[in-house]
């Protein structure tokens, strides 16, 4: 019970911080959505439209108004389409969830397998995997994405219809981080006393790897995987804009460029919520898998 209360309190605090920081950051950016849409219109019309949105009021009043609306659960309407932000978010949520789900699936499989292969020293193959993991971690997503689009567009055509590509690209990079962590965990544990003991007992090496090393070294990876949500979401912004997929990422990019305050706020709050929930989920999951943590 106390745990749940503590979680709720920290969640609310985090959301408030995210909302407030976004509020300030957006107002610091020059230009606004009225100017972008009514740039040819008279200054009077622009002023009237801003007034309708209460932008002529002191910033503190606007902030209070914004927080009150949030408390009532109101995210407002887009300054461009006039559609409720909740409606837009609902519409854009699925494509991104889908992308995130497949990317994460790909990332988990390739990250764990790649990490293991890179760690257990099968000469050349491990070296190659270490190189690929290095690439996945250090090369920016837009580079790989552009390369994939370029190659696929030339040889296959129809990049837009192919929904596997963005998931592959994003999964490759997300998996890199997982693989790196699997690899270093295994390498650490290989030096551990109980592994030496196992070797000394004359156990078969592959049995030691599976039963002793992997069991222990994969535990922290579970938490690590859940934490990749943040990476996935920021990666989705880039991937979705590269592949022109109408998800949350592209929505955020467009909204920031167009200074669509309510939409940016909505996306940020949504991402923050997902992030908080996934963190909590990861915590619960690690506790499930590792009973030692419960004591």
């Amino acid at each position: 019970m106390i745990n749940i209360l503590r979680f709720a309190a920290s969640a609310v605090l985090t959301l408030w911080l995210a909302a407030s920081l976004t509020f300030v950051a957006l107002r610091l950016l020059p230009g606004d959505a009225i100017q972008a849409q009514y740039w040819e219109a008279s200054a009077e019309l622009q002023a009237t439209l801003r007034q309708n949105l209460h932008w002529d009021e002191p910033i503190g009043v606007q902030y209070a108004r914004f927080l009150l609306a949030l408390l009532r659960g109101e995210l407002g309407v887009s300054l461009y389409t006039g559609r409720p932000v909740t409606e837009i978010l609902a519409e854009r949520f699925l494509p991104t969830t889908e992308l995130a789900f497949w990317s994460l699936s790909i990332a988990v499989v390739w990250g764990i397998l790649g990490g293991i292969i890179a760690a257990i020293d099968i000469t050349v193959i491990s070296a190659i995997f270490r190189l690929i993991i290095g690439l996945a971690v250090s090369v920016p997503i837009y580079w790989t994405g552009t390369l994939v689009i370029f190659v696929v567009a030339i040889h296959l055509g129809g990049v837009r219809e192919n929904s596997a590509l963005p998931a592959l690209v994003l999964g490759f990079h997300t998996g890199g981080v997982i693989a790196r962590s699997v690899q270093s965990n295994i390498q650490d544990i290989k030096q551990a006393d109980f592994v030496r003991t196992a070797h000394a007992k004359g156990l078969f090496p592959s049995y030691i790897v599976v039963q002793h090393i992997l069991r222990v070294s994969l535990l922290p990876v579970v938490h690590m995987i859940a934490l990749q949500a943040g990476f996935l979401l920021s990666g989705a912004v880039i991937t979705e804009s590269l592949f022109q997929r109408a998800g949350i990422g592209l929505l955020l990019l467009d909204a920031v460029q167009g200074r669509d305050y309510p939409v940016v706020q909505g996306v940020v709050l949504m991402i923050a919520t997902v992030f908080i929930l996934l963190n909590r989920f990861a915590e619960l999951l690690t506790h499930q898998l590792d009973p030692r943590l419960n004591s």
Partner: protein
């Protein structure tokens, strides 16, 4: 046990990703039309994008039309019109026995309801209101007659009333739906009925079988005329040709020039370039900021620009070179601007030397009083402008001018940079058949006067040209305006816009209205796939 819990959690996640496609009724005469921008809204009275016009030109009629070839005003929902002696009252005789798609009868009250909606500040119209100029009131004379009353003469009014942004919508539907919801339930009198709009995804329209009041320029309907049209969005220019080739779209606009060249050589496709009247691709020169406050520098910049090379390389030769502030296909275009600033490096150098510039520190860049000759260019990301500025940078370097490129990702950031006022050049342009597009941009008090130029003679000419109803007098006034703009070297024109459309050869009879962006799909025929 633990394993199953994990599985269960994953199951929830994957259940969220399920996706069901809606099933729509289909006809073999269905056309897929590629749109190029995902629009923020498609209410013709409220929004300003060109994409909405591509769709809604088929859904609505306007009071008048402009003939696609002669560009003359021809009857639409108005069968005739007269203009009072003082140019302040336009009287329209309206067509009778016209019904909206919802069965409402079209009459003078319907026109009044639409004017009311456009003029109402609550509507916050982005374009339609501007097209009506100084319209202040209207007067329903009888069921089939309406007067439009202006506060001052404004001859571009008819042009405004011929555009889809002033389309006449069903007053019943306008009343039924809120300002924001109407765009999803549009009701017009046009050849196609509005079926649905799914933002970011599609817009569907279907043939109106009752349509019998079409303008004269349409041909009789063929047996295999298109029955249903689905518009889809293809934001990324690089994917457009691929969408045509894979059959995802039958028609596509704004193709990349290289793709258009390839499609032109493909027997399965036809490329239909549509010339766009209005302003060419151009760079405004800021006369309030050194060094472009100096006429000689502005002129030298134009002389030092090899437009042939740019049009050949960037636009694959698809575009005519632009010489003045209006594209050659615009009414009242002044051909006197042609060749005035033909590429001439000697002339550019002479002008700069005459202005006192020399390369005193031998770094290849000219300077004056220790300051290098540097121009800041705001470069938007669209329309292949980045490729163009690459060329400009190289070409100008050869006469000792350094170009500093200021890239902006979107329109909002472009406006911000312009607002700061620290630029020398900025690329932007507006389209339209009436040269009145020049007024807001070159009048001293113009709302978007980005050259900062102010000249009473030019002001008088532009104002006179908008007031004057006599076409010959308008031609003279706009002709002189264009001459002054180029004498003062207020812009660097690059190329006239050409919208590169292509369509699969399973369709034919695609043509465009004289604005160039908007197709006339009434007569388009389609050979169904087997």
């Amino acid at each position: 046990m633990r394993f199953f819990r994990v599985l269960w959690l994953l199951g929830i996640l994957s259940a969220c990703t399920g996706n069901a496609l809606p099933v729509s009724e289909t006809t073999p005469y269905k056309l897929f039309y590629g749109l190029t921008l995902s629009v923020s809204g498609i209410d013709p009275h409220i929004n300003q994008n060109a994409e909405l016009g591509i769709v809604l030109r088929q859904v609505y009629d306007t009071l008048v039309y402009r003939h696609p070839e002669t560009r003359e005003f021809v009857p639409g929902l108005a069968t005739s019109w007269t203009i009072s002696e003082d140019g302040l009252i336009y009287t329209f005789k309206l067509r009778e026995n016209v019904t909206f798609h919802d069965g409402t009868l079209f009459n003078a009250d319907a026109v009044a309801a639409n004017l009311e909606r456009i003029m109402n500040p609550e509507t916050a119209s982005q374009r339609a209101r501007l097209l009506l100029g100084p319209l202040t009131a209207y007067q329903v004379v009888d069921n089939a007659t309406i007067n439009l009353i202006l506060s001052e003469p404004y001859s571009p009014l008819l042009d405004g009333l011929s555009q889809v942004y002033t389309a006449i919508a069903s007053p019943k539907a306008l009343k039924e739906y809120s300002l924001l919801r109407y765009q999803y339930h549009q009701v017009g009198t046009g050849p196609f009925k509005f079926v649905e709009y799914v933002p970011e995804d599609r817009i569907v329209i279907r043939r109106n079988p009752d349509y019998a009041w079409q303008p004269d320029f349409y041909a009789p309907l063929a047996e295999n005329a298109v029955q249903e049209i689905e518009f889809r969005f293809f934001r990324d220019p690089a994917t457009r040709a691929a969408a045509l080739e894979s059959g995802d779209a039958d028609v596509m606009g704004e193709l990349l020039p290289l793709d258009a060249r390839e499609l032109a050589n493909n027997p399965e496709f036809t490329v239909v370039p549509a010339a766009i009247p209005g302003q060419p691709l151009q760079f405004y020169m800021n006369t309030a900021q050194p060094p472009t406050n100096n006429l000689a520098v502005r002129q030298a910049l134009i002389y030092a620009t090899n437009r042939n090379a740019i049009v050949d390389a960037v636009y694959q030769g698809f575009s005519p070179i632009a010489w003045g502030p209006l594209a050659a296909v615009t009414p009242f275009y002044n051909p006197g601007v042609v060749d005035v600033y033909a590429y001439n490096l000697d002339q550019a150098q002479t002008l700069l030397a005459g202005a006192g510039y020399e390369d005193s520190d031998n770094d290849g860049i000219l300077d004056l009083n220790g300051a290098p000759l540097e121009v800041t260019v705001i470069q938007p990301a669209w329309g292949l402008v980045p490729e163009v500025t690459q060329f400009l940078q190289d070409q100008w370097r050869s006469v000792g001018i350094r170009a500093v490129i200021e890239p902006v990702p979107g329109f909002t950031s472009l406006l911000e940079e312009v607002e700061k006022g620290e630029y020398n050049m900025v690329s932007f342009d507006a389209f339209g058949l009436d040269p009145v597009v020049l007024n807001a941009r070159y009048l001293s008090s113009g709302t978007v006067n980005w050259t900062g130029f102010s000249n009473p003679e030019l002001d008088n000419l532009l104002l006179e040209a908008a007031r004057q109803s006599d076409n010959e007098l308008r031609r003279v006034a706009y002709g002189q305006s264009q001459a002054i703009i180029m004498q003062q070297a207020l812009i660097l024109p690059i190329r006239d816009y050409v919208n590169l459309n292509a369509h699969s050869n399973r369709i034919s009879d695609l043509r465009f209205d004289p604005y160039g962006w908007f197709p006339l799909l009434y007569n388009v025929t389609i050979t169904p796939d087997d």
